[in-house]
Symmetry: C2
Subunit: 116 residues, 2 copies
Amino acid sequence: MPNSIQMTDDLFDQLRLELRRGCLVMAVLGQLRAEHYGYTLRLALTDLGLAIDEGTLYPLLRRLESQGLLVSEWREEAKRDKRFYRISAEGKRMLGLLCVEWENINKSLNKILQKG
Amino acid sequence: MPNSIQMTDDLFDQLRLELRRGCLVMAVLGQLRAEHYGYTLRLALTDLGLAIDEGTLYPLLRRLESQGLLVSEWREEAKRDKRFYRISAEGKRMLGLLCVEWENINKSLNKILQKG
DNA sequence: GGCACACACTGTGTGGGACACAGTAATATG
DNA sequence: CATATTACTGTGTCCCACACAGTGTGTGCC
């Protein structure tokens, strides 16, 4: 039988990712109320305790832009071309809706968990 | 061009589901500190504001059991065979870890969102 | 001036899992 | 005896995060 603690830890990593998945969208939208490009956005999120892989963040940004929640612009800064993102009006509306939903989920979870 | 509000709403549904996805595991584990079978568990979660489709809940229960976080037992009650689930020791440990992670995510999100 | 390292983004493959939809079957209810 | 409720199972599809692997450009150091 494999090591039980190790199994738990692998499983925990997986569930933790699952838990963070949906929150990343909110975090990115919230952070992009101020303009950022991918790299600094990633650093900022890491700083805030929401580390995210490059291979996850960049596709996420493109996806959110294709969904109309972000707008972007190629621009040179410090002798480098960078893609600057910021939230769109649609994105702001969506972020508001998601915040409400987030609070509801929190209330539900607290109700469930405090009983134990 | 399709109706913009409708698009936002469809998109919101999708993002809302994404947001709830990871939380469902916590809700189910938390709720199953008391024994339930699928149907009443689903009713209880719906009552708490975390409605979940049958086709999502039942596979989730089987998955969590296969991961060792739940234990189950076929038993007759009210002239029906039902599969009763409850949390395992491993599941309790995992739930504790997830709660900590959940709090951390909440802190991070609050930091991001309050700034606006 | 060449070498390592940080910066900034792109591309592909894979696998997990929610959901829609459909089915099975037994027990109330009228 | 027909319909609704209870209770669970099965299949197919689609999305998306992640791992991994590139591509190319500054900057600092010796």
